[in-house]
Symmetry: C2
Subunit: 194 residues, 2 copies
């Protein structure tokens, strides 16, 4: 069996990534798998170390950065989050196609270490539609809504970092097209590994 | 039969649009069709009015702009080029899926008049690869090569204007994925029109 693919999926907050991914995430033909991330944030009730996250101290995380053990990492509201290379490689060596749901900065880090990564960005049909989705799903203060939109607009200037961009104006259609993109790459990978 | 789709394909000079399109352009299942553009440039030997282009005077072209008869238009090296609405609508009303190969500015004009257009942008795997393709295909002065690359880099900042972006690192794969995108939209269009 050839080594599995590394798939990066990104998209602005509110675009509906989760809903799209749910359409095919469990399809056995795609052999998709999430890797377990590493974080310095507090474990919450019901979470298990090594399952939801690898929970580590700041010192351990910084040691992992120094030793180049992370495929990508970021700091968010005072906590580190990252993807250990080891976990990803183990899954890929088992033939699993590992899917990372990360941001544009993380994608750039991944590309440096793994130029062959299959990178996919999900965009909203329009910024107006993104705004209405962000406003629709929860009642956030206006300031936060504006921050999310500004961040999305800034991110969208960088989508040429990705190999594929798919518009989510229809969940089934977007999921279907992303599934085909992944399938075709699995087939190509199998031909190359054969 | 439902009205055909309007499909816009763009991508930087040198990305291999022609080679990708050739893979599926004549597939009867896709019912693809090019519309005849309007231009003010001189007719060349072997060209036929109404076949290669609708050849018109500057006054006629400017009249067409004024009367809102063009889906999009541009001026290039002193000549006008544009897509008459009428020709596109006639083909779409016959159930043909009309494909326009135009630039980012043209795509923005089309989206204003036809927000449902299926817009696809083809990107190179990397700018370095684009550079080597541009250098490989002909011997152009360094200045022109640099202009093409600068234009491509500028265009790529605007690819969020498109619904889909597909990387052409493998012609068959890129063509296959674009074909699927078009097929799925044809199916959706047929379901909506049924």
């Amino acid at each position: 069996m050839p080594k599995g693919l590394l798939i990066v999926i990104s998209g602005p907050s509110g675009v509906g990534k989760g809903t799209v991914l749910k359409e095919f995430m469990d399809d056995p033909a795609l052999r998709l798998s999430y890797s377990v991330s590493m974080t310095t944030r507090q474990m919450r009730e019901g979470e298990k170390d090594g399952v939801n996250y690898h929970f580590v101290t700041r010192e351990q995380f910084e040691e992992a950065i120094k030793n180049d053990e992370l495929l990508e990492w970021t700091e968010f509201v005072g906590n580190y989050y990252g993807t250990p290379v080891k976990g990803v490689e183990e899954l890929r060596n088992e033939g699993k196609n590992v899917l990372l749901e990360i941001e544009v900065d993380g994608c750039c880090q991944v590309k440096k270490k793994c130029p062959d990564a299959l990178t996919i960005y999900i965009i909203p049909p329009t910024m107006e539609e993104l705004e209405s989705r962000i406003r629709g799903r929860k009642t956030e203060p206006e300031e936060i809504v504006q921050q999310r939109l500004a961040k999305a607009a800034k991110e969208m200037e960088r989508i040429s970092e990705y190999k594929y961009v798919v518009c989510n104006d229809d969940v089934k259609l977007a999921a279907d097209i992303i599934r085909v993109i992944i399938e075709r790459h699995i087939e190509k990978n199998e031909r190359a590994g054969a």
